[in-house]
Symmetry: C3
Subunit: 342 residues, 3 copies
Amino acid sequence: MSGAAHTLGDLAARFGLGLRGDPAARIDGVGTLAGAGPSQLAFFANRAYRAQLPGTRAAAVVLREDDAGTAPGATLISRDPYLDFARIAALFERRARPVPGIHPTAVVDASASVDPGASVGPHCCVGPQSRIEAGAELGPGCVIGPGCAVGAQSRLVARVTLVERVTLGRRVLVHPGAVIGADGFGIAPSSAGWTKVPQLGGVRIGDDCEIGANTTIDRGAIEDTVLEEDVRLDNQIQIGHNVRIGAHTAMAGCAAVAGSTRIGRWCLIGGAAGIVGHLEVCDRVTITAMSLVTRSIREPGEYSSGTPLQPRRQWRRNAARFGQLDALARSVRRGNQEPSDD
Amino acid sequence: MSGAAHTLGDLAARFGLGLRGDPAARIDGVGTLAGAGPSQLAFFANRAYRAQLPGTRAAAVVLREDDAGTAPGATLISRDPYLDFARIAALFERRARPVPGIHPTAVVDASASVDPGASVGPHCCVGPQSRIEAGAELGPGCVIGPGCAVGAQSRLVARVTLVERVTLGRRVLVHPGAVIGADGFGIAPSSAGWTKVPQLGGVRIGDDCEIGANTTIDRGAIEDTVLEEDVRLDNQIQIGHNVRIGAHTAMAGCAAVAGSTRIGRWCLIGGAAGIVGHLEVCDRVTITAMSLVTRSIREPGEYSSGTPLQPRRQWRRNAARFGQLDALARSVRRGNQEPSDD
Amino acid sequence: MSGAAHTLGDLAARFGLGLRGDPAARIDGVGTLAGAGPSQLAFFANRAYRAQLPGTRAAAVVLREDDAGTAPGATLISRDPYLDFARIAALFERRARPVPGIHPTAVVDASASVDPGASVGPHCCVGPQSRIEAGAELGPGCVIGPGCAVGAQSRLVARVTLVERVTLGRRVLVHPGAVIGADGFGIAPSSAGWTKVPQLGGVRIGDDCEIGANTTIDRGAIEDTVLEEDVRLDNQIQIGHNVRIGAHTAMAGCAAVAGSTRIGRWCLIGGAAGIVGHLEVCDRVTITAMSLVTRSIREPGEYSSGTPLQPRRQWRRNAARFGQLDALARSVRRGNQEPSDD
């Protein structure tokens, strides 16, 4: 999409939005409420930024009907301003698509197949029996091991590794540094030390998934690790072997899921949250940031663990009492008001 | 090892297992209890999967004597089914070993030494004074900086970086994206800003260690960061400078150890657990997932911190009380049952 | 700087330190209190190592005036021994600077500009409209996307990715595996699934910043993600889109900051600490390891969350009580000493 301008009238018609203002006004980019210039479009969806709405210099603001009165200028009325802004902003995104073909510095195994409409960038490797489908893009420095498939229109931005037996669906977007299909962490102890458990499975990633930078998804021990379609993983997430994640589930940065856990559809996993192994989490569960899940969750809803942040001196006193909490509760229960310090 | 089949009788003899069933039955792969087909071997070790045992279609199941009665078909009797399954599964693992030699796209410094039996893959770099020993494998895109050594039979899967003064023992396995030997995080403050503390040490990794994908191990400030033999690190682990980890210790994904801490032998560090700097943790300590260690541990055993997951509404009420816990305890102690809200 | 020796007298004069001992004594390296040999210099700053001071074999020790009496040999008296040791140790650091120029295996876009005094290493890619300034060093395997700039004297150690619209100031040091400028995690839900929000901003990194191994810093959705000068980030840190971090702030390994949060100057963020999105943290705030910040912080000081580590059996009893804490507090308040178990 070129950087050409769009009129407010065009945008309203194209995305089915109400327009209050001049349909001929030209928009040549997007901005924040505080930063947008007079030919840019802004949006208002998060009430935390309410104070910025009246003063915006934006040409127009995408917002809910109820908020339209507060905007100083033109408005595009939306039931879901964030979603409609996302769609409009995509018109102003510019990215040069690479020329199809295999860069001369890439190393492609003779048994691999690369569609002529795919692009394999500089310093990539494509291993035996792997398949790169039409319109797929491998940016610089990607390593595709043996037995992998990259579906049509998928994009590996740069320096992505698919280790072994990894299948990506269509339109999958993988950010730099992600490692998909490394050995699951399977080790069996004996008195002499650890014995490695072979990791004979693979990884299957559904259509329209997004995998963040430096995220790792291990391949299964026996069967596959699976992400269903439209799963969205932020950066530095760790997914253990044999995990299954349901469609449309989104996980924020640094979350981690241990092996063999199954997560449902439309879950929202907060940043740095942890889910231990061999659990089941049902559909539409929200886990807040840095919470730890140690049991299966069978009811949709929002879950948390942890304690609130406090000034350290206060926190230290309260934390010390946490270590005596059972004694305190027993003391209260006994009607004995002196907690024992055991 | 090729994909040739093995008979149950062969497997029993080779691994010293009891056999109940037809010794001539042929096994051509492994599977899960739920998924194994009639020519595959399964195992039963984790009681969470007990319900799947009676219905398995597997040709045979590796399990403990006590569980043999529940299996519907042939069994291989083991004292340690997970360990024996690991050994058997290795027979069915297929991996093409790379041809020894240096790939033409690799860049090897004139002062480096690469054993003729080692393999240096596409787009690797081997820096000055570094040494790659017999049978070692560098997969695509590995960067070996100056003064490093990769021991015999070690394998760097792909895109591994050994930054500087890193020595790997024999049979070390390093997964993609791992960075070993980057500068430790040493900075000294002054009123003008931070001054970097030179990181003059290295990293020594013992024989038979495994280092997960995107794990980072910094080199020492003065002396070396050390992993003794058979240490097993999962993905995205962070090991600070001058840490020492004892033999056979295993750490799950996303765990982190701050600088100069010493961890004993045979410890088990749970996922995303943290250990702050300058501590000592003795042998055979288990830390559960997402726990934080802020003091030295001198007694073997299992340790935890954190609070249990709850539905958010309940959690919120309890968490608010955590902030008043000291006041509550004092109130109980005083016999005054009204906690002050200071 | 070569490995030539320095005399104690030279060092004292050069760094303005008091000297007690023979000014002609030659120092050819640095060591720890416990490990330094008789021609090496050690330092004493952290009282945890007090017991090692009297027995040190070091040629001299850098320490505070008050501690000089405890040292067995020569001393260099400093107000800030760690800082002065850092400066002295830099004299003993040896690193071969790469020859300026573009390695023949590197791929540089015709529209990129590389200063003749810069060095672009093996298997690097430099994208369209990007600029590498004088004295900058790109180690092996770095990928510089379109529209990026690497300031003078900055160093990308190896396998660093600058994805798009990333500007590094001068003397910035970036460790292997870091990914700067990947798409921020912006997704808008609808009943049909997630819609990606275009990430149209960039990243600006100030002079003298340091970015650790495998750290990720996303580019802004509309405006830029910003690190002011002299920000120091350890390994595996995650910085969300549109975050702004003030000058001289330092963050320890595995910390994470969610989108649009602003952090002040001279803050210290502990290892694996988390800060949720859309907050403000004022100057000179310290967050201890693994604490979670969920509200803006407007007062300088030290803050914590979490509970102390305990042997698991004790922890389990106390943690169970945490889940009843509100009921317990109500029970105390009511003068009813039987907490209800709702």
